[in-house]
Structures are given as structure tokens and as C-alpha cells.
């Protein structure tokens, strides 16, 4: 389960997966400490064992240590997903005492200038300090980097940075186009040549490092022939709870306006998981149209991503347009072709993820 504790964030990364309208009324007021602890209890009873504490920036919640301790007492394995901005060693130590299991800290590039430019906030030095504290305090550490046109050439250096920090895992997450990333797609999407070079580097580094450092490569799915098995299938093993208690089968699903999502303030989590229309709508295979229905890959990729179908084809109930068999694949090909045509210097500017821009999106509806 991913608990998005708040959508407030001091960073402004243009690929943020949060909703464009995160600053709008739909995501307020935030759940209280007691409400979150109840949600954690209900999640544990449902079988949840892994808990991501995310956001926005989860360390902005002043009750974070209470939430961590509540999760720990329940036996949830907790991961803090943070930018580490303004995080102190004392705060990290307090979270360790509260029972936090694992820390994931993002970085936006291997060098300070580019990292701070992408984040829209001077944060690189604080991140580097926090990586060291995390290891000094004995946490397992994941270094997370979202990859796009401006930093993909740094993949080798990023892996070596994670290695030098003593990280256990490095997540090289090619941008997935949802939320702000979908809005900024033209500025973020890399060329095929960039992706090819980066992938070769990843393979070389995996060979060199063996199991000393786990390198997770999140596929650039637009460039694949078949869609990703998004979330392992709709509502099969994953729940996102948003800051004001709406429950989604993934962190992008709230964008699907043809569905109504339930709230933990009104229903128990178990009812939402088992009974709600939104969780059952695309569960299993009954909803699948052709070409998925008769395709042997439907048990492998579950029809791909519902959010992507909604964003690109305008219908959450069709085959993921990334699939080469989808009648909408030409829309994905057109986006890729546009990137190949435009040089990096000519590429559109991105919109930073920030509250004023978000309020404008929310007002537009």
C-alpha cells in the first residue's frame, strides 16, 4: 500500500506523478493521525505487509514518527519515500527508533546544477548529506532517479554514485507519463538512441556489480512492443490512499473521471477493496475488449494500464495504446516521432509542479 500522506512538496519536479490538480479541494482536508492509523490497521487485516509513506513530501507531516510507530506495531514493513529536503539526522534517528524499516531518497541528476534545476529547488547537497546519514543509522537505502531526456545520459554515473553511497538498491525509473509527466511529455521524453545507450550501460553495470547493488530499471513503456503489466493487474495487489482518504488501485487512477473512487472516511478499506465499483471495474479479464480478449498475453500484461488508455485514447476500458496491437498505437508512435524530430534545444519547456499551476488546473476542472 502506498500512503500519500500529503501533496505538499518543496520540490517541483516536472514529472511528478501526483494529480495536476493536487492543490484543489478534492485532496483536502488531509487525514488525521488517528484516521491514518485506522487505515493502516484495516490494511494489515486485509493482508497488506508493505507500506510506502509517500506524498508529496511525507516528512512535512509533523506526526510522521507517530504514523511510523503505528505501522511498526502492526508489523508493516515501512518505506519512507522522500526528497530528503530539510531532513535532519536527528529526525531520521527518531524515525529509526519509531521502527521505520527502509529509506528511499530521490535525486534528480548526478550533479548539483542539473539536479537542482530539475527539482526546481536547491536540494542536491541536502540529499547527499541525507544519503550518508541513512547508511550511518543502519537503514537499507534505495536511491531513486526518474529518467528523462535531460538526465538519461547520466545513467552510468548515477549507478556509480549509488554504489559509492553504499546503497542497497538504485531505482532507475524511466518517466511514466501520468500526472505532471503527461502534461510535460514533450519536454521529458528521450530519443530512442538515448534509451539504447542507457540500457547498454545498465546491462554492463549489472554485470560488474552482481548482487552488490540491485539495479532496478523501470521500462520506458512507450518504446516497448507490448504494454507493462501495470500494477500486476488492476486492483490485484496494490492500493494507494491519497491525502484526503480517496482510495485508488494505483497512484494515477484518480485521473480516470469515468470512475467514482471511494473514501476511507466513508467506507472500511476492506469494503472498498472487495466491493467497490471502482476496484471491480477492471479486475480480472471480464472487462477486456478485443484485441485483449482473445490474446494469449492477457494473462501476462492484464491489458496494460487503464490510466494510460484513459489519458491517450480517452477510454479507460480499451487496450493500452502502448500495445502494438492496439488501434490507438499510432497516437503513441506520433508522440515518439515528434521527439525524434525536435532537437533537445528546441524541445518545449516544462511546467514545474507547483501549487499556483495546480490551482489553475483545478479551476479548469
Amino acid at each position: 500500500m502506498l500512503a500519500e500522506l500529503t501533496y505538499k512538496c518543496p520540490l517541483q519536479c516536472p514529472y511528478c506523478s501526483n494529480p495536476l490538480e493536487f492543490a484543489g479541494g478534492r485532496f483536502k482536508p488531509e487525514l488525521t493521525t488517528d484516521e491514518w492509523c485506522r487505515v493502516f490497521r484495516e490494511a494489515k487485516a486485509l493482508g497488506v505487509l508493505q507500506l510506502g509513506l509517500s506524498g508529496g513530501e511525507p516528512t512535512l507531516r509533523t506526526d510522521l514518527d507517530v504514523l511510523v510507530s503505528c505501522a511498526h506495531e502492526l508489523g508493516l514493513y515501512s518505506t519512507l519515500v522522500t526528497s530528503a529536503y530539510r531532513l535532519t539526522k536527528d529526525r531520521l534517528a527518531a524515525l529509526k527508533r519509531a521502527g521505520l524499516d527502509h529509506v528511499q531518497i530521490s535525486i534528480q541528476a548526478v550533479d548539483e546544477a542539473l539536479s537542482d534545476h530539475v527539482a526546481g529547488t536547491a536540494s542536491y547537497r541536502e540529499k547527499i548529506a541525507a544519503y550518508h546519514w541513512t547508511k550511518e543509522l543502519g537503514f537499507p537505502l534505495t536511491v531513486n532517479v526518474v529518467l528523462h531526456r535531460k538526465n538519461l545520459h547520466q545513467v552510468g554515473e548515477l549507478i556509480r554514485l549509488a554504489e559509492s553511497l553504499g546503497a542497497d538498491r538504485v531505482e532507475l525509473a524511466n518517466t511514466q507519463y501520468y500526472g505532471w509527466a503527461y502534461h510535460n511529455r514533450a519536454a521529458l521524453m528521450p530519443t530512442k538512441a538515448q534509451l539504447g545507450q542507457a540500457w547498454q550501460m545498465v546491462q554492463r553495470e549489472r554485470e560488474r556489480l552482481g548482487n552488490r547493488l540491485e539495479i532496478v530499471w523501470v521500462l520506458p513503456d512507450y518504446h516497448e512492443e507490448f504494454p507493462k503489466p501495470c500494477m500486476g493487474g488492476w486492483a490485484r495487489s496494490y492500493i494507494t490512499v491519497t491525502p484526503a482518504g480517496e482510495v485508488w488501485p494505483c497512484h494515477a487512477a484518480g485521473r480516470i473521471t469515468s470512475l467514482t473512487f471511494e473514501n476511507v472516511r466513508e467506507h472500511p478499506l476492506e469494503w472498498i477493496w472487495c466491493q467497490s465499483e471502482s476496484f471491480n471495474r477492471f479486475r480480472g479479464e471480464h472487462w477486456m475488449p478485443e484485441p485483449c480478449r482473445s490474446c494469449p498475453r492477457k494473462a501476462v500484461d492484464f491489458g496494460g494500464c487503464r490510466c494510460q488508455a484513459f489519458l491517450i485514447a480517452g477510454d479507460a476500458g480499451v487496450t493500452d495504446p502502448v500495445c502494438s496491437l492496439s488501434p490507438h498505437r499510432k497516437l503513441v508512435d506520433a508522440a515518439i516521432a515528434e521527439v525524434e524530430r525536435v532537437t533537445a534545444a528546441e524541445a518545449a519547456d516544462w511546467t514545474y509542479r507547483a501549487a499556483p499551476a495546480s490551482r489553475a488546473f483545478a479551476a479548469k476542472g
Partner: protein
């Protein structure tokens, strides 16, 4: 493939946690972004990895409890988890 020696002392890696899961009625080994659900044999072996017992000690204890215990099978289980970084060996 090399097999762990009898006098190595296996322990659950610091990033992993062994616990009983009521919902699945199984022991699970939790670690960053993942879990392994253990069968009863694997769970018993992991429970004996206390950071003091050697592989030989663990095999000895298992032999007191069961008739057909093969040291190579115990070592293979531990090596499999060690390859995932979930078990570490010490002297």
C-alpha cells in the same frame, strides 16, 4: 556453484525481517519492496538462524526433530536467500 560451509553462521540480513503473517497463515521474510512467503520447513530453518548457530548446528537440531534432513538442502535454501541479500554469513 559454491555451497556454504558447515561452520558458517547464517543470520537474517539486517534489511530483512522474519514474521508470522496471520492473513496468509505463513511466515514471511520482508525486505525493501518485497517479500518471500516461506513454507514451514524454510520458516523453521530461518527461525534457527540466530547469529550464533552454524549451519552444522542448525542441521544437527533439525536432525533431532526429523529423520530425513539433508545438509545440502539446508545449505541450498540459505544460499538462495543469501543470493537475494536476505541472509548473510559470518564466522
Amino acid at each position: 556453484m559454491s555451497v556454504v560451509s558447515s561452520d558458517a553462521i547464517p543470520r537474517v540480513a539486517s534489511k530483512a525481517r522474519l514474521q508470522w503473517d496471520e492473513v496468509r497463515s505463513r511466515y514471511v521474510l520482508l525486505y525493501p519492496e518485497g517479500l518471500v512467503a516461506l513454507n514451514p520447513t524454510a520458516a523453521e530453518i530461518m527461525g534457527l538462524c540466530d547469529g550464533a548457530r552454524s549451519v552444522a548446528d542448525i542441521v544437527g537440531l533439525l536432525k533431532q526433530r526429523y529423520s530425513a534432513v539433508v545438509e545440502r538442502d539446508v545449505a541450498a535454501l540459505l544460499d538462495g536467500l543469501a543470493a537475494k541479500g536476505l541472509v548473510s554469513y559470518g564466522p
